[in-house]
């Protein structure tokens, strides 16, 4: 096979289809993280929450044969981890950058331990979320194949973006979240309970991170391996900055990243004469370049990482 094949229509459609699918874990994790940060809490434990979500979803699906049960169990585990993060960072006012890394290590270690004791070896399931063709829409040439023959988790992830936008900008809850992340003292004087809002966003962030893990283990790959997220949770945190703390900004970032990811996978498959190490680097190098370019153009929530103490 040679490089010219990479540019054929079929391959391009393949890259785009894969890119959409690969975006779903990033979207779940980054949208969840965005809510936490918008309310003033930086959660660097996303990666650990994803791994626990991935394992739980996989294990429950393996045992029950039902990926929905797996997803629900993962969400419950994610909620617990989010809740724990909220206790540490909101009630105990720990330094968020450090405690988040703690949760990352806990999540990674615990998922490995559970993997070794409960599974022992890499297993594959065939009862994960399969591709679902949306009636009519999936029949549209090209577009139908790219967008409407995906798995349920991918549909959910993309639906989450406009929903997140609506909640953030069109509901009283979203107004409270934005206010608490900018000036918690102002919100407090108007009777908004700062701690409640932050507990809510950080716990929901845990749920979404676990869903991101499930999107990997019971939808996209149908397998669980130790440390299978390989930094995706941290990329999701970077995407929140890159997206300027806005749902559609995050969507754009996630797509850019996943498309480059898909491209490099196809370039490896088609043996483009570039060392594979460089190809694998591409999405990460791109992230760094884009982050450098966005510095100064967007402003972080003013109270981000600052615990709230009534003066």
């Amino acid at each position: 096979m040679d490089t010219s094949q990479l540019l054929s229509a079929t391959v391009l459609v393949g890259i785009l289809t894969a890119g959409i699918r690969l975006a779903s874990p990033y979207l779940f994790a980054a949208i969840g993280e965005m809510f936490g940060q918008r309310s003033g809490v930086l959660n660097l434990g996303v990666e650990g929450q994803m791994l626990m979500g991935a394992f739980t979803a996989f294990y429950v699906t393996l045992r029950t044969g039902n990926p929905w049960l797996g997803l629900l169990a993962a969400m419950a585990v994610g909620a617990l981890m989010g809740l724990a993060m909220a206790v540490v960072s909101v009630t105990w006012r720990a330094v968020q950058g450090i405690s988040g890394i703690g949760f990352y290590i806990v999540g990674m270690g615990l998922s490995e331990l559970l993997f070794k004791t409960l599974l022992g070896e890499v297993k594959v399931i065939n009862t994960g979320f399969n591709a679902v063709n949306i009636p009519l829409l999936s029949q549209i040439p090209v577009l139908g194949e790219i967008f409407f023959r995906q798995n349920v988790m991918t549909y959910l992830a993309f639906t989450l973006v406009p929903v997140a936008w609506f909640v953030l900008y069109k509901t009283p809850l979203g107004l409270k979240i934005r206010a608490v992340g900018e000036n918690p003292h102002a919100a407090d004087t108007l009777g908004v309970n700062v701690a409640h809002i932050r507990y809510l966003t950080v716990t929901m962030g845990g749920v979404f991170s676990a869903m991101a893990g499930a999107a990997l283990s019971v939808a996209n790959l149908n397998v669980f391996q130790e440390n299978m997220t390989a930094g995706m949770g941290f990329i999701a945190v970077a995407l929140v900055y890159f997206g300027g703390w806005r749902p559609f900004g995050v969507l754009f970032g996630a797509l850019l990243f996943s498309m480059v990811m898909a491209l490099q996978i196809f370039m490896q498959v088609y043996r483009v004469p570039v060392p594979s190490e460089f190809l694998i680097m591409m999405p990460y190098v791109l992230t760094m370049i884009v982050l450098v370019l966005t510095v100064g153009r967007v402003r972080a929530p003013a109270a981000l990482t600052k615990p709230f103490v009534r003066e």
């Binding site: 069109k170 979203g174 108007l190 009777g191």
Partner: protein, 515 residues
């Protein structure tokens, strides 16, 4: 629903609010000691006191931000419990904080709607809020665009949003925490008009301040707190500024004035056509010419932001001179670092005392020795001499009347006036040859003002050349031998004390040269 909540309060209107025997104890301090306080419908009640007298604590208790250790609050005779701002708002109490409680990145309407239930339940009703806000703005003369973002608004407009926020929540009683401190004279006049409109609509106002003339001009009754206790509560009619000052401080206050003629010595500070840029890169100084002689105080008057801050910074070597020359004691110092100026006997009381005056986590002692810490008498051969430092610091704490638990207390924990005294102790104990005092009494209480003024005059007697930069015209007029008026980065004119009358200076401050 927000609309009905704003227009048809279901609760009783506050006709009489009483706080009885309120005691609040913080670790080591009794902030309020059995304080009684009451407000009636349609009344403006001033709450007067020095910094740290317990005014803010008392009002934070009323607004549910603190819980008192003892005492009770009654509305129309009924005891009430206020455990959070939410309770206070529900009872009809609104508070306008000194540091505005607004979210800069949200619009006016969003700030007003924040925390209120929406008439559409799960979807915001900002259009309803905006309409209702405009109605209230019309009634009370508080004009502001509901769609504007807070960061786009001037200080006076932000204050209007704060008042609208409380009105929107149906407040009967308003706690105004030093509302005029941040306003220009024109905005103060407008604000007084708003207050009159509010009392006409039968709202009650608690007016926290330490500006005596505002109490006399606008209030019906006044309660004075000192060291956490109520020392007086009486009608304002018949009170003079002097009476109030005495109640506040506990003894007679006579702000010192210059009386003697200056002992005109040699020129210690000279500026020739000095130009400099502001933080934002615009031209802040456009050719300043100025001389200060030994033994005189030259006051610099002007409306804030006409280059006064930059003037202090170029003289003290903290800002680059882009054009022109500066001489200290006859030596050119243009472009020299602050350390060199220190050698020449320059002392500096900076405008931003928390940022430039002290290191707030350092102890009082460490802040006092900050300038000379690396040589005698504080250090020898690279070691700090702690016994000597302790002795000298304790002496300075007495001499400058710094009210601090000990010399080892972090300076940032002190009140504004005492922080300024720490700066004074450091800068004046070296008997400076040139002293730059920028806004030396801003935000400090009247007792500290008296002390600072006296010290400036003592330095003048001792032969220092003093440049006093201040936005407080009274201060400039009572202390200066000559008054320089700044406008748009230039000195409009320099007047001798005897010719410096208020009207003339006012015109110069506005950029008008009287014929």
């Amino acid at each position: 629903m927000s609309q009905s909540q704003a227009t048809l309060p279901l609760r009783q209107k506050i006709e009489h609010l009483e706080m009885r025997g309120i005691t609040k104890i913080f670790p080591g301090v009794v902030a309020n000691d059995r304080v009684d306080f009451d407000v009636r419908e349609g009344e403006v009640h001033a709450l007067l006191g020095e910094n740290g007298a317990g005014k803010s604590t008392l009002m934070k208790i009323l607004y549910g931000l603190y819980e008192p250790n003892e005492g009770e609050i009654r509305i129309n005779g009924q005891p009430v419990r206020i455990r959070s701002p939410k309770d206070a708002i529900a009872l009809g109490i609104g508070m306008i904080h000194q540091h505005f409680m607004l979210v800069d990145t949200l619009t006016v309407a969003e700030n007003i709607a924040l925390g209120l239930p929406s008439s559409r339940r799960f979807i915001t009703d900002l259009d309803v809020v905006a309409r209702r806000t405009l109605e209230l703005a019309e009634t009370y003369g508080l004009h502001v665009d509901p769609e504007a973002y807070i960061w786009q608004l001037a200080v006076g407009q932000r204050q209007r949003v704060e008042i609208l926020k409380a009105l929107y929540r149906g407040a009967d009683l308003f706690i105004l925490d030093e509302p005029t401190a941040v306003l220009t004279p024109q905005e103060v006049d407008e604000f007084m008009g708003t207050m009159r409109q509010m009392t006409r609509e039968r709202h009650s106002i608690i007016f926290i301040t330490h500006k005596l003339h505002e109490v006399i001009a606008t209030c019906d009754r006044v309660t004075v707190l000192r060291n956490g206790r109520r020392v007086a509560s009486r009608p304002v009619d018949g009170c003079t500024k002097l009476d109030l000052a005495r109640l506040m401080v506990g003894h007679d206050i006579v702000l010192p004035k210059i009386t003697s003629a200056p002992k005109q010595g040699e020129v210690r500070l000279q500026l020739q056509e000095v130009h400099a840029l502001s933080e934002r890169g615009t031209l802040a100084l456009r050719g300043v010419n100025l001389q200060v002689r030994a033994g005189e105080i030259v006051g610099v008057a002007g409306v804030s932001g006409n280059g006064q801050s930059e003037l202090a910074e170029v003289i003290t070597g903290l800002r680059r001179v882009t054009q022109g020359k500066i001489f200290v004691n006859g030596q050119e110092t243009t472009g020299k670092p602050p350390a060199d100026l220190l050698q020449l006997g320059m002392a500096y009381i900076p405008e931003e005392r928390m940022r430039d005056g002290i290191i707030s986590d350092f102890t009082v002692s460490e802040n006092v020795i900050l300038r000379n810490h690396n040589h005698a008498p504080y250090a020898r051969r690279g070691f700090l001499l702690h016994r000597i430092i302790a002795e000298i610091t304790d002496r300075l704490i007495r001499l400058f009347d710094i009210r601090t638990p000990s010399r080892l207390t972090p300076a940032g924990n002190l009140s504004g006036g005492n922080i300024q005294k720490v700066v004074l102790a450091r800068e004046l104990s070296r008997t400076p040859k040139v002293l730059i005092a920028a806004q030396p009494t801003r935000g400090v209480d009247i007792g500290a003002i008296e002390f600072i003024h006296k010290n400036l005059l003592d330095q003048r007697e001792a032969g220092a050349a003093i440049l006093l930069i201040s936005e407080d015209l009274d201060e400039v007029l009572s202390l200066s031998d000559r008054v320089a008026v700044m406008y748009e980065g230039r000195i409009m004119d320099i007047l001798d004390a005897k010719d410096a009358e208020r009207g003339k200076i006012g015109l110069l401050m506005a950029g008008v040269r009287p014929e």
